[in-house]
Every structure is written in C-alpha cells, then in structure tokens.
C-alpha cells in the first residue's frame, strides 16, 4: 500500500483490506470488507444475524483465512507476535467443564509455559477484575450463565491482550445480567486500555458500549455505515436513560434498517 495512506492511519492497530470469505458450500459470508481498528477504541460490528460478523472476527484472530484480501497488523508490537496479543471471547462461555474456574482462566498462560507463580498472580488479578475472586475453585457447572461468561472474559484477559475480540458474548444472557456485564466490561476496558472489537446484533448494546460502530449489511457482509458514539466514558445508567442515548440508538437503528434494504438484491442472490 502507498506509504501516505499508512501514515494516515498510524494510530490503527490493524486494517482489513478487501476481505472476502466464501465457504466451501458456496455461501459468500463477507464481500470486500474494508475497515481499520484503532488502538484503544471500543469498536462494535453491528449487523443482522448471519451477516458474517463472527466470520470477520475469526479472520482477524487468524482462526480462518480470508478467501480474498488481507488483514494487516499496523502496530509494531502486534506484528511481532500477533496471536499472543489477542483475547477471544466466544458466544458461549466455552469453558473446560473438567477444570476449575482458576484452571480455566489460567489456560492461555499454561499453554505458553508461563511459570506457576506468574500464572497465580495474573489469574487472580483477572478473576478479581471480573468479580470472581471467591470462585476460583468452583467448577463451571456450579456457576450461573453470567458467571461463566465472566470466567471466559477473565481467561481472555490473563494474557493482557492488546486486542480483545468478542463474538456476541452476552447474547444468551438475560437483560439484567447483560446490563451488569456491559458495565463491568466497560470498566475492564477502561482499566486495561485494551482495544475491543465487539460483535453484536443489538443496537442498544452497541450504542451503550462503543466509541465507534460499523453497521454491516446482511450476507454477504460489508460495511454500510459508520457511526461515532461521542458520549464520554464512563457511561452508566444515566447514559442508558438519556436523550442522547436514545438519539444514537435511533440513528443506529436507521442505519441498520438501511443496511438491510441496501442489501436486498445481494441477499436474494445468496
């Protein structure tokens, strides 16, 4: 790419250039997806179910290669050792049922062969952050859905990732738990200074959490609108009930509706 463009997005962590993904069964999940992720931001990918948001996340994580295009890591530190700087939170908690909360959260460090003392310190730090310090010895089945998701987040945090990828992590939770976890996630994000890419199909969730929203069209997914949410952090219950929040939600909903109209012909083709 021309050097001029590169310097223009110097604060970017990574950029997707013309990323497309076709699955072996012929489904085109993403088509010519272009966006960058800026260091320290909370970026939401908002789109209808099945628009390839999750696929985009998997491509960023390196779990699935793009059919076309590329993912470029722009920050120096990231380029050196990409994978170790990524935390991934799946739709389900995805915990090992045979391992305690502590052992689950410790997994990324254990796999890296980190010394036991460091593991103990970092894991208890991460569990503290998500409010599970007292449950280190519990097993996943002894926890509620929300608590399991907290373990999953703690596990993603132990490596102190520069980039935290979250794939509709709270979709399966009840509203009360989701609001609580939204607040806690924002706290963690602010405390750690990590960059978050958050996939969701909830307008309200994306507006509440994000500093920037990318609205994706239905399959095949591509960016149809970009929305900066300029409300200051920390955000709390007051923001959730503010006129400003409602206005942003309206804009995001309109953008989402527009994205689905735009997409109609392509959607019918697929």
């Amino acid at each position: 790419m021309p050097p001029a463009f590169k310097s223009q997005i110097a604060s970017s962590l990574l950029a997707l250039h013309g990323v497309s993904k076709a699955f072996p069964n012929g489904t085109l999940a993403l088509s010519n997806l272009n966006f960058d992720v800026r260091a320290g931001e909370f970026l939401s990918l908002l789109g209808p179910s099945g628009c390839g948001k999750s696929t985009a996340l998997r491509i960023i994580a390196g779990l699935s290669p793009p059919s076309q295009g590329s993912v470029e890591w722009l920050a120096q530190a990231m380029a050196a050792d990409q994978t170790s700087r990524i935390g991934f939170v799946f739709q389900e908690p995805t915990l090992m049922p045979w391992a305690s909360v502590f052992d689950n959260a410790a997994l990324p460090l254990v796999l890296k062969g980190v010394p036991a003392e460091t593991i103990a310190k970092r894991v208890s730090g991460a569990l503290d952050r998500v409010g599970l310090a007292k449950f280190a010895k519990a097993f996943p089945r002894e926890l509620s859905g929300g608590m399991r998701m907290r373990v999953s987040i703690a596990r993603a945090l132990v490596t102190e990732p520069q980039l935290l990828l979250m794939d509709e992590p709270f979709a399966a939770l009840d509203e009360i738990t989701r609001f609580k976890l939204n607040n806690d996630l924002l706290q963690v994000w602010q405390a750690t200074g990590t960059t978050v890419v958050f996939v969701t199909h909830s307008v309200f969730e994306s507006v509440y959490l994000s500093s920037r929203i990318l609205v994706l069209t239905a399959r095949p997914g591509r960016v149809s609108a970009e929305l900066a949410i300029e409300a200051p952090y920390p955000r709390d219950q007051n923001f959730r009930t503010s006129a400003e929040y409602a206005a942003y939600c309206r804009r995001a909903s309109t953008a989402l509706a527009q994205a689905m109209i735009d997409d109609k012909p392509a959607g019918d083709q697929a």
Binding site: P108, L111, K112, P140
Partner: protein, 273 residues
Amino acid sequence: MNATQTGQERRQERRDRVLRMALPILVLALVLLIWEAIVRINHIPPYVLPGPGLIVGTLVDDWELLSQSLLVTLVTTVEGFLLAAFGGVGLALLFNQSRLLEYSLYPYAVILQVTPIVAIAPLLLIYLPQPLAVLACAWIVAFFPVLANTTLGLHSVDRNLSDLFTLYGASRRQVLWHLKLPSALPYILGGLQIAGGLSLIGAVVAEIAAGSAGAGSGLAYRIAESGYRLNIPRMFAALLLLSIAGIAIFYVLSFVNHLALRRWHESALSREA
C-alpha cells in the same frame, strides 16, 4: 421451598434408597426359598437340581479348590482388562494422531470384534500356550469397546475450545493432554466399564474351550469339569462365584467412574445439584 418440604423430600429420598436395596434382596430371598422348597418337597436329587443350601455348603466345603480357580480366572480377567485398557486407549490415540494408520487398521479391529470369540478361542489354543491363549481371548473381546469409545471421545471435542487452543498456539501434545484426553475421559470410562465385564466373559469362553482340551484350572474349567463328573452342586457354586466376580468388577469400575467424573460431568450429577 420451605424447610419442612425439604425434610420431607429428604425422607422420601432415603426411603427410595432403602427400597432400591431391599427389594432385590427380598426377591432373591423369595426365589431361593421357593427353590429350596421345590427341591425338598419333590425330593429332586442333587445331580439334577441342588438346592441353594447345598450349593452354599459345596462352596464352603470346596472353598480351597474353588478359591484357587477364582484367583486364576480373576488374574486372567484383570490382565486382559488392563491390556485392553492400555491397548484400546493407546490405539485410539495413535489413530487420532494419524489418519492413515486409522484407515489402515480400524477395519481389522472391527473384524476382530465381530468374529465370535467362541470360534476364535480353539484356534488360539492351537497356536499359543494355554494361559496366553486365554489372556488373548479376554483381550480381544475387551479391547474393542475401549478403542471405539475412546475414538469417539477424541472426536467429540468442543469446536470453540479447539479454536481457543489454536489461538493460543498450543502444541499437539498440549491439545492432546489438556483438551482431547479430558474431553474423551467420560467416553473412555464408559468403554472400560463395558470392557471389565467382557474381559471376564472372554476369559471364561477361552477356559471352557481349553477345558474341553483337557487343561486349565480357572473357574470356567471347574464348571466344565464338574459337568463331566455330574458334580452339579459344584457347577452351581462355581457359577455363583463367577457372577459375584462379575458384579464386583462392575461396581469397582462404576466407583472409579464416579470418582473421576463426580465434579464435572453430567452423568455424575444429581438433578437437584
């Protein structure tokens, strides 16, 4: 839920447990009583049908002989079981690491399994020394469920967890040790539980086959031998010991299963937990 209700539930649970223990014992006692009564009232001679009393008496009188045979059969069974456990799990691990090996060998494992062991035993007795042939029979019938279950278990890994291991750069060995084996553990234990009973059956079949060839000293051989001598009470006594051995093996393996899974696996959880 209030306290009296939980108390009531607990009492009902306890009664349920007592009933589950007591009812089979009651049925057994009743059957034995009727059996003994029929034998006595009709004056059935012991070489046709011995009463339960006589059978227990024979068990006590012949204890020295029978206990030695029991030991022989049990040792064979345990050896066959251990070989099946390590062989089955080991082979499944090899298959899991190498597709080519799995494609090459799995069909033969199936063939070995579907061919009736009664038909293989006499052949084995020709080519192998007798104790080894008996052991081979126990192994052949016991190893397949371990192999099949372990293979299934190793394939039943949570896809997302697998992705997570990839993301964190886990080595093959780490994936095997931290992910595949623990995921497969409930399946492996299920396979072992089946293998325990089958190993005893394999040993018995081989002993019977060997017994007719005139060698051996296991419990099944005692049954065959006592049959030729019309020592029917001893046949029953030996059969009783075999049943008890089978039950013991089953419960030991169930207990191991419970110990290994009680904290996390669905099968080991009570509904209320």
